[in-house]
């Protein structure tokens, strides 16, 4: 018969080993996700620089606005899908804080994109609508979570219905980024989540799908 104490210690050592191995695998998994996102972020940052240069080229060389708008939309769609992945990985992240800093950089990137889109609208007329969605990052508040789920779904649906007419830019409003805080102050936004339509209309209540659509496209 086995010595009882031996089985207790063996099990403890085995469990610790499995746990340490699991934690290492967890770090590996989360690091590989964060590396993937870092790489995409770098590409997106390069793309944004390219975008800014292109806008200057558009101005200086009179390149058609249609091309510039199309390029901005493609870029916005790209970082939107990257942001979706980021949110997904971020909610599954348990062990590290890497994704939070990537998130902040994405928020900066999206803020830059927003400002670029304002310039573009000024130069090329108002052929598209900008919807900036400021949300609360990692909120524990039940009401805020519920409202954010609702806003995300509704905006995603509107975006799907109006692919080329609406630029959707989600930005976390509580990441301690001065530029984002300044923008929020500028619109007197104190509570999140908030939808900012064409830099004019601030929405922070629950409203009908058609009402929101109307505000975005006919305001």
């Amino acid at each position: 018969m086995v010595n009882s104490k031996q089985a207790f210690w063996q099990a403890l050592v085995f469990t610790i080993l499995i746990f340490v191995l699991g934690i290492f695998l967890g770090f590996f998994l989360e690091n590989s996700r964060s590396d993937t996102l870092q790489l995409r972020l770098l590409n997106s940052e390069v793309n944004l620089l390219d975008e800014q240069l292109r806008n200057r080229v558009t101005d200086d060389l009179n390149v058609e606005c249609e091309l510039a708008v199309e390029s901005t939309f493609n870029f916005a769609d790209k970082i939107y899908s990257e942001a979706v992945n980021l949110e997904k990985y971020d909610s599954a992240s348990t062990l590290g804080d890497d994704l939070k800093s990537i998130h902040r950089r994405y928020d900066l990137l999206r803020t830059l994109l927003w400002l670029e889109s304002i310039d573009l609208r000024d130069r090329c007329g108002e052929d598209f609508h900008t919807v900036v969605y400021f949300y609360d990052y990692a909120t524990e508040n039940i009401e805020v979570s519920a409202k954010q789920n609702f806003y995300s779904r509704m905006l995603e649906e509107i975006k799907a219905n109006h692919q080329k007419e609406m630029l959707l830019i989600p930005i976390a409003g509580n990441m301690n980024l001065d530029s984002v805080d300044l923008a929020l102050n500028n619109y007197n936004i104190e509570k999140l989540p908030v939808i900012l339509i064409n830099e004019e209309i601030v929405i922070d209540e629950v409203l009908m799908f058609e009402e929101l659509e109307e505000l975005i496209f006919n305001s």
Binding site: V2, T15, E30, Y89, T94, E157, V206, M208
Partner: protein
């Protein structure tokens, strides 16, 4: 960094993995010995069967005891009726007339529990070995042969139990219990290998009469006298053994309500016993070093885990309810593609590993027990047992704690 809730999940997984590992590390070096039983001498055994309104089963139960592979002159069957209101006494009297070694004793009052009639039977018994059997259980013919040796080979052994398995499972609830009983039987054998058998279940157990008398017989106030008696033996330096080589089949509750009531009783009895022996924690051998801490820890983890589960579930439900209400009001999509995407976290992987280990351990237990009724278990039943049935248990635990606290419980 790891937040508090994630930390709790990690902690639960660590404990779960540790317990599974412990059982595996006990099993592996002893895998060829789990069916071992010492060959014992044939000596007189008095079988005590408490009975209350068991007319439909009592005849079959006496028959099964009479058919035990044991010399008839070394076997007496004492049925102690606890003032049944059905015709149990008439049925038992028939057997008393027919067989010399069957005796009927009628209790002077209805005690409402099995302990008092069992004690009456023990005091009236003529042999030195006492078997206690339930009126709805049927031990295998070789039960005494494969159990008595444990009592004879070691002076420290005060009681022996065997594999208690479900008899003729018909309903879904009984089929799930058949799996549970088989897994428990396997676990109990593993506990036996570390001297930590903590119960000699009522369906069939064998004791030394002098040990039962020395420790003061069964506790008539406890709801699970079969747990309490073992803890008392352990507290006095005795141990209990488990013979996996033989089985007893016991009738299980057919439906959920009866099952719930039975488990409330088991849980209340367990808590009564835990409370009674709380002072021995970390003191007396395996009782103080393993059994009492294990029971206390399980109780704490069960209650706390249920609280955590309910909190997280309610939070999720409220968020879903509110956001869905908003979406319905706004006539917008209730679910989008993004809601359906999922990135597994390290906790999900740990959970999966733990579940697969638990599943493998359950299947190993079922294969080793190899009971005819358990062989019919299908994959769905095993998954249901692991995912739903075991998850119901903490709710029963809370209910039993409530009943214990307000004093609202009966046999």
């Amino acid at each position: 960094m790891v937040n508090f809730i994630d930390f709790l999940f990690f902690f639960y997984m660590f404990v779960g993995l540790y317990m599974l590992s412990l059982f595996i590390f006990i099993y592996l070096p002893n895998r060829l010995k789990v069916f071992y039983f010492p060959n014992g001498k044939v000596e007189g055994v008095s079988i005590i069967m408490p009975c209350y309104n068991e007319a439909p089963h009592i005849g079959e139960a006496i028959e099964s005891l009479l058919s035990l592979d044991w010399p008839k002159d070394k076997l007496e069957i004492i049925v102690v009726d606890d003032r049944s209101t059905d015709n149990s006494v008439e049925v038992i009297k028939e057997y008393e007339r027919k067989y010399d070694n069957v005796r009927l004793i009628v209790n002077s009052r209805n005690s409402g529990k099995a302990a008092e009639p069992t004690n009456i039977g023990i005091l009236a018994a003529k042999f030195d070995y006492i078997a206690v059997a339930d009126a709805d259980s049927t031990p295998r013919k070789d039960a005494l042969k494969k159990m008595i040796g444990f009592l004879q080979e070691d002076k420290r052994v005060g009681g022996v139990t065997c594999a208690v398995l479900a008899a003729r499972p018909e309903t879904f609830m009984q089929k799930i219990q058949a799996i549970e009983y088989a897994v428990i039987a396997f676990n109990r054998k593993l506990l036996d290998l570390i001297d930590a058998v903590y119960v000699t279940p009522g369906p069939f157990a064998l004791y030394k009469k002098k040990v039962l008398i020395e420790v003061g017989l069964f506790d008539t106030k406890n709801m699970t006298q079969d747990i309490e008696i073992v803890w008392r033996m352990l507290s006095k330096g005795y141990i209990a053994r488990m013979s996996l080589a033989t089985k007893v089949h016991s009738v299980t509750p057919r439906g959920f309500r009866l099952w719930w009531k039975q488990r409330i009783r088991w849980n209340i009895g367990g808590k009564q016993t835990l409370w009674k022996y709380k002072g021995l924690i970390f003191k007396k051998g395996m009782l103080g070093l393993f059994i009492i801490p294990f029971f206390s820890f399980s109780l704490f983890l069960g209650v706390f885990g249920l609280g955590l589960f309910v909190y997280l579930l309610l939070k999720r439900l409220v968020v879903t309810y509110l956001s869905t209400s908003y979406s319905i009001y706004a006539s917008s999509a209730i679910v989008t593609f993004q809601d359906l995407t999922f990135a597994p976290s390290i906790l999900n992987f740990f959970g999966l590993v733990l579940f697969l280990l638990g599943l493998s351990f359950t299947i190993l237990g079922l294969v080793i027990i190899n009971d005819d009724h358990v062989k019919k278990s299908n994959v769905f039943n095993i998954f249901f047992y692991l995912i739903v049935y075991l998850a119901i248990y903490p709710f029963n635990l809370i209910h039993s704690l409530y009943k214990l606290a307000v004093g609202k419980y009966s046999w």
